[in-house]
């Protein structure tokens, strides 16, 4: 496209470019950036393939490190013994073993048979802080010591204990983990470990989850010390899974309560309380707060364009016949969402009417371009100047333009300016 043509196309002209302003709008910058030069292919602008191959300056490897050092770096990564050291067998003391563990070299743990050296190994590994060494020693102790003795050692060494817990969890050895935690008097943690294991292994299988979670609730979440609210949540989970089993719909398997509520709102809106699939029944069963309930209803119906439902639900006529909005969603938040969802200006106006402060109402009406509210507010404030200015920004011959003109001509208003 020719340069001049570009600037004269209706699309760009309509946006009223003014390059003399200090700051360009994003659209203006984009227009400049996307302007093509002759001979340049259109599509190259958004493809990134051409730019990622910028060569980075580098020093040759041999002047970065000496060959000897490079060999050392490779040796350290591999965890192998240096060639010259292989012949000389040093006695396998606790310190030697630990050092070899940290370096990732092979080591003979089995030579440490006394309780003293086993304990020293564990303390040394913890003090160094290398998790790989810690876990290796713990697993060695498990293999060679009576479990009770190991648990005693671990109970006073929290870091080592945490490594073992993390290992059991990753390995899915949930029974051993529960035994360990129960023995240490940490039954709330055992309950949670069981729960986490169940939800991570069962996927979205409602039957499996229901069986597992019911079982965990009965056997672990009723232990003393378990937080009452956590138990309540697990109980609510069981109730939701029961409902999902009843509904028997694959798309609802292990979905959240609000996602299920959204489904019932869109498919079973008219069913009254008591019916299994009624939104009201689900809301009550899951004790969904009024705010969350309204929020879901708002989003579901707005997205499917059922504004009539929303208007009858959220607006009420007062005794003067004016409609006001009644919702648990706070007004500011409601307005923002309604605007994003493309609500009618009538609904927006009704929502604005709920705001007690006129200044706030005006600011929000301006922000969301609810013209009738802006015009009414200016009229109420008897601010002819502001209204006249506002009229200029409106599209001539539009409904709101005519409303503004009529308001300005209204003889009953005593303008202050």
């Amino acid at each position: 496209m020719d340069d001049d043509d570009y600037w004269n196309t209706s699309d760009t002209k309509a946006k009223a470019f003014s390059f003399d302003d200090d700051v360009l709008s994003p659209q203006e910058i984009l227009a400049i950036g996307q302007k093509t030069y002759p001979g340049q292919k259109e599509e190259s602008i958004f493809s990134s393939s051409s730019i990622s191959t910028v060569k980075v300056a580098q020093i040759p490897l041999m002047s970065l490190v000496t060959p000897k050092v490079l060999d050392l770096i490779l040796l350290a990564q591999s965890g192998k013994d240096p060639a010259q050291e292989q012949s000389q067998e040093s006695p396998e003391t606790v310190a030697v073993t630990l050092k070899r563990l940290v370096l990732g070299r092979r080591c003979a743990l089995h030579v440490h048979r006394t309780m003293k050296s086993k304990t020293e190994l564990l303390d040394g590994a913890v003090a160094i802080g290398d998790g790989n060494a810690i876990l290796t020693v713990v697993l060695f102790l498990i293999a060679t010591l009576n479990k009770k003795l190991v648990y005693e050692l671990l109970s006073s060494r929290l870091i080592a204990l945490n490594h073992y817990i993390s290992f059991l969890q990753n390995e899915g050895k949930i029974t051993e983990l529960t035994d360990l935690l129960t023995m240490l008097g940490r039954s709330p943690d055992a309950a949670m470990a069981h729960f986490q294991h169940a939800v991570k292994t069962q996927g979205n299988n409602v039957d499996g989850l229901l069986r597992k979670v019911t079982n965990i609730l009965a056997n672990h979440f009723n232990q003393p010390g378990v937080d009452a609210h956590q138990t309540k949540m697990v109980d609510a989970y069981v109730k939701l899974l029961e409902w999902q089993k009843l509904a028997n719909l694959p798309e609802l398997s292990n979905r959240s309560a609000l996602q299920c509520l959204a489904y019932t709102c869109s498919r079973h809106w008219t069913e009254g309380a008591g019916a299994a699939m009624s939104p009201l029944t689900l809301g009550q069963r899951q004790q969904i707060s009024p705010l969350q309930f309204d929020w879901v209803v708002l989003n579901v119906h707005a997205k499917s364009g059922k504004w009539d439902i929303l208007e009858s639900l959220f607006t009420k006529k007062d005794w003067l016949g004016r409609s006001t909005v009644s919702s648990h969603v706070p007004a500011q938040c409601l307005l923002r969402r309604l605007s994003e969802l493309g609500a009618s200006s009538r609904l927006m106006a009704a929502c604005l009417a709920k705001l007690p402060s006129a200044d706030e109402r005006l600011a929000l009406a301006l922000n969301y371009k609810v013209h009738c509210v802006v015009i009414q507010t200016y009229a109420k404030q008897k601010d002819r100047l502001a209204l006249t200015n506002y009229k200029m920004t409106l599209n001539p011959q539009s409904e709101e333009y005519i409303l503004a003109e009529n308001t300005l001509r209204d003889p009953s208003i005593k303008w202050k300016n």
């Binding site: 910058i29 602008i45 300056a57 050392l72 770096i73 965890g79 050092k99 303390d123």
Partner: protein, 649 residues
């Protein structure tokens, strides 16, 4: 070897390449590479496809549990040190062998594990009967230069392992990367650690030094790096939880950034993905552009990355105006030819970057603008422990309406850390969250408590009944202002957030908070003596100091053997670094301690264990300018608050 430091750092990839070459040479002549998708971008920074072909790689596949037979008998798997992914590979190999038992004998199976092979991997191999059939190789790639003065190990799973699972197995990988780095740059004179993991890294670094010192003795201090600071993420969670105000920080909030490449997907941002989706239809895959966040490639990014977001569009606008003036129509034929030959490509690239940045800005505005002001205000009030009730109501409304799977929890954690949550408030939020995203996430809150991001309030009524009275003091709510007390002592909370200038690092959080890393760098760079540093940082309990000082304080030749044999139960090792308290005697007699803190060169390397964020990087740049120094930032990855929260799921 006196090359500039940044050139040395960008050449580290050659060492990585050499390490990989060494491994590939042990894997047979012709082989297939099967790579975990999360590692592709990082591998691209080390070598290209052509290089891999030169080293015997025939076909490259993405790791997929369903992957069937491949072109060659030799298979090289390339995976991170993650037990689940590792087991998945072993299962695949087992099933291949069960179909064709003869392939077990050809030594054709190799697994390259980033960054190291854990001992438990060896035992798993043995227990699956694959010992001797499959060979494991550790590949500890070096720090990668993502951007000017920004290095990363690209191990994004490290935070989860270290802080959520409390498994320190890969900590030695961090130590090894520093050990290799110091072969290139020399050892810094000063090393400091802040936090338990950081101290561990310095201890292990010293073990590497001791072990390999026979082969390599260079006692000279580094001429490139004056000081190394290693910091645990736990030391400053607030910097991760707060919403950044800088351009790069906000990019990270909206777009996914992997290994320094931003995925410019304006249709499906991170903010949208995390919200409750009420539409039944899935959003279709939209085409998106990969955008390198590297100042050396994109000069425009260099200019705007650390700017407060409010300034970015005007900078872009001024650039666009300059571009407009480059009117080539006015050029003659010869000039035109010259332009095409020399400048056209450059201009085209610049325009492309300009367009991408504007698109990114527009997306940030449309996603954040309607709540950014309120969010920033609430965060600042939380930091200063004001209007707790209003802050809680803001959070409660957010949980009830536009709840976000990560960001809502992030704000809850911030409130919990700064002002505390009562038992009832805590449970109300938990309940709303679980209703929205599913009860299955109940364990997430326990994980957040374990990693210290969330403080669990105790049920006072209940605990009075069941525990004896001597435990009562533990059960009562903690002094709520702990956060503010610590932050005030370190001067992290500017008194007038609204008029902080460009010279305060707090601009990265709209003037509300200075990241700890910037405070520490500033203290180290502006102190004249050891005693001054110790005074300035005295409130940091996990502060330890090593480097030259460690060697001077050794009682004779203190080897690891001696250290370990004198170890007392549950004491720190203090092999690579020391508690500054034992230094007080030394400091009294010699406050300067061999001029330790007159750093030469005035260059600091900061390594954050558990992910650094863009706001911290920007804040350090302010300190760098104020002190006339150079601050290099390194970490295991560049993350933000929602990444931290996601690691708990």
């Amino acid at each position: 070897m006196d090359q500039p430091l940044n050139l040395k750092l960008s050449s580290l990839s050659l060492i990585s390449q050499n390490k990989l070459q060494n491994i590939l040479s042990q894997c047979g002549e012709k082989k297939d590479l099967i790579i975990d998708p999360s590692l592709i971008k990082a591998l691209e920074r080390i070598c290209g496809v052509t290089w891999l072909r030169q080293h015997g790689v025939d076909k490259i596949y993405k790791m997929d549990p369903q992957l069937g037979p491949t072109a060659n008998a030799n298979r090289v798997y390339f995976i991170p040190a993650c037990i689940i992914k590792y087991k998945c590979v072993l299962d695949q190999i087992s099933s291949l062998i069960s179909q064709n038992p003869s392939i077990a004998d050809v030594n054709g199976f190799h697994i390259i594990i980033i960054p190291k092979v854990l001992n438990s991997f060896d035992s798993i191999l043995e227990s699956k009967g694959l010992y001797g059939v499959v060979k494991l190789h550790a590949f500890a790639w070096e720090l990668m230069v993502l951007d000017d003065q920004l290095l990363s190990l690209e191990l994004p799973f490290l935070f989860k392992q270290l802080f959520v699972d409390q498994n320190q197995s890969l900590l030695s990988g961090v130590a090894m990367s520093l050990w290799t780095l110091f072969h290139v740059t020399g050892r810094p004179k000063v090393m400091c650690s802040f936090g338990k993991f950081s101290a561990g890294v310095l201890d292990m670094l010293e073990i590497y030094n001791e072990t390999y010192s026979r082969n390599f003795v260079d006692t000279n201090n580094s001429r490139d790096i004056g000081a190394l600071l290693v910091i645990d993420r736990t030391q400053d969670y607030a910097s991760s939880l707060l919403t950044p105000a800088t351009y790069s920080g906000l990019l990270k909030e909206i777009f996914s950034i992997n290994c320094g490449f931003l995925d410019l997907n304006v249709k499906d941002t991170k903010v949208m993905k995390g919200k409750l989706n009420f539409d039944s239809e899935q959003s279709n895959e939209s085409k998106s552009t990969a955008m390198p966040l590297d100042s050396s490639i994109d000069s425009l990014y260099a200019e705007i990355k650390h700017r407060h977001f409010s300034e970015v569009l005007s900078v872009l606008s001024s650039k666009a105006k300059l571009l407009k003036n480059e009117d080539i129509k006015a050029l003659g034929i010869q000039e035109m030819k010259h332009f095409v030959a020399t400048k056209l490509q450059q201009v085209t690239l610049f325009k492309q970057n300009l367009v991408n940045h504007v698109l990114a800005c527009e997306t940030i505005i449309s996603e954040m603008s309607n709540r950014f002001e309120n969010l920033k205000l609430t965060e600042t009030e939380m930091l200063n422990n004001r209007n707790k009730k209003t802050n809680y109501n803001f959070l409660d409304e957010n949980f009830g309406t536009e709840i976000h799977i990560y960001n809502s929890l992030r704000l809850m954690c911030l409130l919990s850390l700064t002002q505390g949550l009562s038992y009832d408030e805590y449970n109300t939020l938990v309940n709303k969250y679980l209703l929205a995203f599913g009860y299955k996430y109940l364990y997430v809150f326990n994980n957040l408590i374990n990693s210290g991001l969330l403080i669990q309030p105790s049920n006072i009524k209940l605990s009075l009944n069941i525990s004896n009275l001597s435990n009562l003091s533990d059960k009562l709510p903690k002094w709520q202002n702990e956060f503010q007390t610590a932050a005030h002592k370190l001067k992290q909370l500017p008194s007038k957030p609204d008029d902080v200038g460009k010279s305060s690092p707090s601009y990265v959080f709209n003037g509300g908070y200075i990241p700890l890393v910037a405070i520490i760098c500033n203290a180290i760079l502006t102190s004249e003596s050891l005693s001054e540093v110790l005074t300035k940082l005295s409130t940091l309990t996990d502060f330890k100091i090593g480097g030259v000082i460690n060697e001077k304080l050794k009682d004779g030749v203190e080897t690891l053997n001696e250290k370990l044999s004198n170890l007392k139960v549950s004491n720190d090792l203090e092999f690579g670094c020391k508690d500054p308290k034992i230094l007080s005697k030394v400091v009294k007699s010699d406050p300067n301690f061999c001029n330790l803190f007159q750093l030469k060169p005035k260059t600091i390397l900061v390594f954050v264990i558990g992910g650094v964020n863009y706001a911290e990087i920007a804040a350090c740049e302010v300190v760098q300018t104020n002190t006339g120094s150079k601050i290099y930032i390194a970490s295991d990855c560049v993350s933000n608050g929602s990444d931290l929260i996601a690691a708990h799921m």
